[in-house]
Amino acid sequence: MEELIKTLKQQIIEALNLEGLTVDDIDTDAPLFGEGLGLDSIDALELIVLLDKHYGIKFTDAKTGKAVFQSVRAIAEYVQAHRTK
């Protein structure tokens, strides 16, 4: 799980072009949207693309995606349960 969390953080930094941030800067349990990291609706869509590309997880609408993206830990748990690759 810890390994997956680290990989995910790296992938998020890359996909969202979070320049200057390192894996250690992202709090595993902090909210990603609004307060916390401060991501927006376009980032949610980029995360959906990321999860499809790397883990074969498909979302049919943005709302379901955003419900999953509470924190990096929440994403990691979802990936572990639903990944197809």
């Binding site: 996909a15 200057g20 869509l45 980029e46 499809d52």
Partner: protein
């Protein structure tokens, strides 16, 4: 001066001309069907296609099939001819042609992209840019006094009407042919798909279960001229432009704010110009795309302005699909036809009410319409509203010569953008956009004008963020139209830069982008000068922006053209 409308031309999924359009509206028949003409893998997505192939259009327009011409230009020419014919105009030498588009020649670019690398079909390369569409249409009509191409995503065509009306009021032209054209492309179908706002079923604007929009295509134009000119030459007056405004939501690149500030300001200012109270509006043709966000935000803006007493409201996008850059003109044409025939068109497919959004017209209503409001909103919160009326309004303009103070800033090398742009904002910007932002911030600072008090933002760009366009296009072709990232699509829209500037400056004023090839800056400055002379604005921010992308530039060079990097900002204020 009253601004009269003397010609209408329209082509969309519901018909190739005025008569077919009215028939479809009255018979409540949608033109959104299963994909037939567009060659996309996303056949699951219903689209509002014009029911003619390119070959059929070429034949009908009497154009040689050997000519390099985009579908966008073909649709535009079809509608232009209908409008000019109705207005009985053959000489266009004292007329402006203002045609909004964002897609431009993308329909041919995406077909020939891989051919171009092999040196085939290169005659289409110069058709790519938005302004080429306007030029090509004009070549088949005649020599206009001005050619202008507003490119502000889905509000482009309504912004063309605003520009045309201002040129008439300032006495710069006698007549104007104004509107917009857009053909369906795999590029923007996939772009909207990456934003997850396309409905796999027929769209249901304002419905509780609305699940997105259906894309459409088409073109529409109207002929504008002074009432005096129209009467003098014996033209039939079909209606009047009574008021208009463009305002910026300055909230987000693709989403509308909860309060619908930009939409509210545009509608409010348009009614003020028309000198009418909200109660005088008989019908609102809403932007109403069918996305959760637009319909909620637009409803909020309408309720803020109109209170509890709402006029009849409908979106006609369930008929035509969302025709993006052409939608403002297509819906203006629909409003004019409804005013002539005396009916309010139904909001198709509406079933369940949503307490947070307005309740649209569920059955065609037959009654006279004196005053109609038409909304058209684009990405970047570029929001426009137009008031049409049976009586018109006298614009008693005083035109004054202006002497201007100029401030200029050019950024060629990017060293210290971090002091100017917050990192969370900069991360989505291309290096060239970052230079533009720094130039803009420096020139605003130098001028000493408070950012929110800059009264208009004009952007001139030939190719926009072409590197983002190429990135999305190649991803689309390489990935077989699957799983595409939304950021490059969002950035590929020509007005991205001007909207990012407005968001940075928290500026809700007039915001326009022109894409007229090498004459883009000329178009932007003509708009600015016209508004300064009319006294509509006292100062302005002008942005000159372009990017040289190696692959695209290589193709341009093969046809004797080239592109360049520019990031230059100007402030002008009256002395």
């Amino acid at each position: 001066m009253k601004i009269a409308i003397t010609g209408i031309g329209i082509i969309s999924a519901i018909g190739n001309d005025q008569r077919q359009t009215v028939d479809a509206l009255l018979h409540e028949q949608t033109g959104v069907w299963t994909m037939h003409y567009l060659h996309s893998n996303h056949t699951e997505l219903p689209v509002g296609e014009v029911k003619m192939s390119n070959d059929e259009l070429l034949q009908k327009l009497n154009i040689s099939s050997l000519e390099a011409i985009s579908r966008t230009a073909l649709l535009g020419l079809h509608a232009s001819r209908e409008a000019l014919q109705q207005a009985k105009i053959t000489d266009v030498s004292e007329m402006a042609f203002i045609s909004g588009t964002t897609v431009g020649g993308m329909d041919t670019t995406e077909r020939f992209w891989s051919d171009w690398q092999k040196n085939k079909n290169l005659n289409y390369v110069s058709q790519h840019e938005a302004g080429a569409t306007t030029q090509t249409i004009a070549q088949h009509i005649g020599s206009f006094a001005y050619l202008m191409t507003p490119s502000t995503a889905c509000s482009s065509a309504l912004n063309a009407m605003i520009m045309g009306a201002n040129l008439l009021r300032a006495g710069k032209v006698k007549k104007a042919l104004v509107g917009g054209t857009e053909s369906l492309t795999c590029f923007h179908l996939n772009g909207f798909h990456s934003l997850m706002i396309l409905d796999k079923d027929l769209c249901r604007p304002f419905d509780k279960d609305r699940a997105g929009l259906n894309l459409g295509e088409g073109a529409a134009y109207v002929v504008l001229e002074s009432e005096q000119e129209a009467l003098a030459r014996g033209a039939t007056i079909l209606g009047y432009v009574a008021g208009y405004a463009n305002a910026c939501d300055a909230f987000h690149q693709t989403a509308s704010s909860e309060e619908g500030e930009g939409a509210f300001l545009a509608m409010q200012q348009a009614l003020q110009m028309a000198k009418i109270e909200p109660q005088a509006v008989d019908y609102i043709n809403a932007h109403g795309t069918g996305t959760a966000n637009n319909d909620a935000s637009e409803s909020r803006a309408i309720k803020r302005l109109f209170g509890e007493q709402l006029p009849a409201i409908s979106s006609t996008k369930a008929f035509t699909g969302h025709t993006t850059s052409a939608s403002g003109a297509i819906e203006t044409a629909i409003c004019l036809l409804c005013m002539q025939k005396g009916f309010v068109p139904v909001n198709l497919h509406y079933q369940q009410g949503d307490e947070n959004v307005i309740k649209p017209v569920q059955k065609t209503q037959f009654r006279p319409l004196q005053t109609v409001l038409c909304n058209s909103f684009g990405f970047g919160g570029n929001d426009s509203a137009l008031v049409l009326s049976q009586k018109g309004v006298d614009f008693a303009d005083k035109i004054t010569d202006v002497t201007l103070q100029e401030y200029v800033c050019v950024v060629e090398d990017l060293d210290d953008y971090k002091g100017y742009i917050p990192p969370m904002v900069a991360r989505r910007m291309t290096p060239q956009t970052r230079k533009m932002m720094v130039a803009m911030k420096k020139v605003v600072q130098e001028s000493g004008i408070e950012p929110a008090k800059i009264e208009a933002i004009f952007c001139a760009t030939r190719l926009g963020n072409i590197e983002q366009t190429v990135a999305f296009l190649e991803a689309m072709l390489n990935e077989n139209e699957q799983n595409l990232p939304p950021t490059p699509f969002m950035n590929s829209t020509h007005n991205t830069v001007a909207s990012q500037v407005a968001i940075e400056l928290k500026n809700h004023h007039y915001n326009i982008t022109y894409s007229d090839g090498e004459k883009s800056l000329q178009s932007a400055l003509l708009d600015m000068k016209t508004q300064l002379e009319l006294g509509l604005i006292q100062n302005a921010l002008v942005l000159e922006f372009d990017t040289c992308e190696p692959k695209f530039d290589g193709m341009l060079q093969k046809v004797g053209q080239n592109s360049q990097n520019i990031a230059k900002a100007y402030i002008y204020c009256k002395k």
